[in-house]
């Protein structure tokens, strides 16, 4: 593969389970060293997409390459070069930390396996607990072990499926430090997440809903492209007024942020005029706010209707 080529380059990937189309026309391009965030509500097809990229599911339609290998025909070659971290912890509970690493090392035919396992244990800070069964680790440690195990064979592409779900903030921060270190070393990362702070840490994002890609690009680009204007409304009893705010014609969405409500709409002038009247009537205050990624994603979600409910 030459350097200018994309690490992931797929077009129109499609996956059906029965007569339900779970991923519909997914196109994705990832450059080398990029950290790409994969966002979308539960059931939007993130896991299915990732599985298609690493050869665990055969796409029903579409084409493309992953690390230069055809996603339809060369899944064996893809598997050898990709590090895939499953959504659920899927290492062997009844193997120790060390045994799990050795197993994965053997499966990928890692050269100098012993040293690599030692280095991984050292890196994890788990040298002293190497004989502990993986099933007895806490969520954060399991996640770190899973990451270490999918790095054993020095993959050039990491596919991480909700790696930080159920992990405490400190462990999450450490995890992202590690991801950025890996990215700096030239490893490409596709990571799915529900956390907005994590989305902000990605170079580029893709937003998926009902199996369709609704937006892709840098965070700021996605926000700008939606042309949303947002106001932060605050004051006494504002929480109780969210329903009333939603009734205003120019208001497209209302979201609570602590003691404030983020009120957004695409028609900036009408929104400002209607809000000004509302705020005055209820003795509140309003401040211009930058629409957050979350505001934009909620907006995208509302725009995309479930094809099954149509």
């Amino acid at each position: 593969m030459n350097r200018s080529e994309n690490v992931i380059d797929v077009h129109g990937l499609q996956k059906r389970f029965g007569d339900k189309t779970v991923v519909d026309g997914l196109s994705l391009q990832l450059r080398e060293g990029e950290i790409h965030g994969f966002l979308g509500p539960n059931g939007s097809g993130k896991t299915t997409s990732i599985r298609m990229l690493c050869g665990l599911l055969t796409p029903d339609g579409g084409s493309g390459r992953c690390l230069g290998h055809d996603v339809l025909r060369e899944s064996a070659a893809i598997k050898r070069e990709v590090g895939y971290m499953t959504q659920r912890f899927s290492l062997w509970d009844d193997l120790s930390i060390e045994e799990n690493l050795h197993f994965v090392g053997r499966m990928f035919g890692v050269v100098g396996r012993r040293q690599r396992v030692e280095r991984a244990l050292e890196g994890l800070g788990l040298g002293g607990r190497r004989r502990q069964l993986a099933g007895t680790l806490s969520g954060g440690w399991k996640q770190r072990l899973a990451l270490a195990s999918c790095l054993m064979h020095e993959p050039r592409l990491l596919l991480l499926d909700e790696p930080t779900a159920g992990v405490d903030p400190k462990a999450r921060r450490d995890f992202w430090e590690e991801i950025h270190r890996l990215s700096a070393a030239g490893i490409t990362v596709l990571v799915s997440t529900h956390y907005m702070d994590e989305a902000e840490r990605c170079h580029r994002l893709s937003y998926l809903a009902y199996g369709r890609l609704l937006a892709t690009g840098r965070g700021a680009e996605i926000v700008a492209a939606q042309g949303l204007s947002t106001w932060a409304v605050s004051g006494d009893g504002v929480e109780r007024l969210s329903e009333a705010l939603r009734q205003l014609p120019a208001v497209e969405q209302v979201a609570s942020f602590g003691t404030q409500l983020h009120v957004s709409g695409r028609d900036a002038t009408r929104l400002q005029a209607e809000l000004a009247r509302f705020v005055a009537a209820h003795g509140l205050r309003m401040d211009a706010a930058r629409p957050s990624l979350e505001d934009v994603f909620m907006h995208l979600m509302q725009g995309a209707r479930d094809p099954l409910e149509r």
Binding site: L57, S75, A76, S90, W92
Partner: protein, 373 residues
């Protein structure tokens, strides 16, 4: 195609060993099932089998011999396969193709007419004493009736008594344990091997580890065979346990080659493991794998000749039975332990097991899903 890698294969093998060592329940099964079965089946199961295949050796044909053979056939207990030579008869008996060989001496007809005492030799394969008991009694009765010297009007009525010399081969005292215990060897292996490997793959699937396994470059062949090896060793341990019990508790004779015995045991174990792992890759969960195992285990118990003498079963049952590895394994084990049969003689029972293994392995490799689709 990915080539087979020794590193990956060893990896799977080592992993299975470690997991097995930590799995108390499976360990309990390895020891528990043989003990339970030995206790349960240590006693006899009664039955009165009919239509037992019989070969007759008639040196000089005559009306007397013909009448006797016809009477045997009419009794319902014997299916006379036809006249054969002495050699052919001996081989058929050793292979378990016939249950009885009835031999009429060269001067049977003449001696009978002249009123000299004559004897019909009956050789019975008594490895399964249940199979022979009833039929031998019938034979005695037939002899008495046909050749009774003092009954008027009987064409065949003899001047002198006709003696039936019954020779019980292989298990002269008709001890049921001689038959049951070697049979148990096969039953225990069938149950534990198919069951344990049946769970092997579905367990991975239920725990979610299958996804991780599939994300590695492992090929179906590596996964399937790598997972089997530890169970081969377990099977050999079980066999040794049962053989020790057979020798020292049930005093079963061991006339044949123990090496050959372990050889056929190995073939049989592999057949069952391959079946189990194939169930495992077809089944969606552990419960389904378990159901498939019992679906296979029941006919194996009932139609293989373990519960009921094989030659005494209806034809359709024999046809089904001859597809099952256990049927052939029983012939092999009884042949080696009680008859000291050798490889050449046993070959007709070895190849069906090998064929079974190949067919099932092919199905297993085909159905093994390399993806999660």
């Amino acid at each position: 195609m990915t080539r087979i890698s020794l590193s990956r294969w060893l990896g799977i093998l080592i992993k299975e060993f470690i997991q097995l060592r930590r799995d108390r329940l499976t360990f309990g099964m390895i020891v528990g099932i043989p003990i339970l079965q030995l206790v349960l089946f240590g006693f006899a199961i009664n039955s009165d089998p009919k239509h037992l295949p019989t070969a007759v050796v008639i040196a000089e044909p005559g009306p007397a011999a013909r009448a006797f053979v016809a009477a045997m056939q009419n009794s319902g207990y014997f299916d006379v396969l036809g006249r054969v030579s002495e050699d052919q008869a001996a081989r058929a008996l050793a292979r378990g193709e016939v249950q009885f060989v009835v031999s009429f001496p060269p001067d049977f007809q003449r001696d009978l007419v002249r009123g000299r005492p004559v004897a019909i030799a009956v050789e019975a394969d008594a490895t399964d004493p249940q199979a022979t008991g009833g039929a031998v009694a019938v034979l005695n009765h037939l002899g008495a009736e046909l050749f009774a010297p003092d009954l008027p009007g009987r064409r065949l009525a003899a001047m002198a008594p006709v003696e039936l010399r019954v020779l019980r081969r292989y298990n002269p005292e008709g001890i049921t344990a001689y038959n049951i215990v070697p049979g148990l060897l096969g039953v225990i292996l069938t149950l534990t091997m198919v069951l344990m490997t049946g769970l092997a793959m579905t367990r991975e699937r239920e725990r979610g580890t299958f996804e991780n396994l599939m994300a590695t470059p492992a090929t179906p062949f590596e996964v399937i065979t790598g997972k089997l090896v530890p169970y081969v060793l377990i099977g050999l341990v079980q066999v040794t346990l049962v053989l020790i019990a057979a020798r020292w508790i049930f005093h079963v004779p061991m006339l044949g080659s123990i090496a050959l015995l372990y050889g056929v045991v190995l073939i049989f174990i592999v057949a069952n493991l391959v079946l189990g792992i194939t169930f495992s890759s077809i089944a969606r969960n552990q419960l389904q794998a378990m159901q498939m195992t019992f679906f296979f285990f029941l006919p194996s118990m009932l139609l293989s000749g373990f519960m009921f003498p094989f030659r005494g079963m209806p034809e359709w049952a024999q046809a089904v039975g001859s597809l099952l590895p256990l049927t052939h394994f029983l012939v092999l084990v009884r042949g080696i332990l009680l008859k000291a049969s050798g490889t050449v003689l046993l070959w007709p029972s070895i190849w069906p097991i090998l064929l079974f293994t190949c067919v099932v392995l092919a199905v297993g490799l085909r159905t093994f899903r390399r993806t999660l689709d």
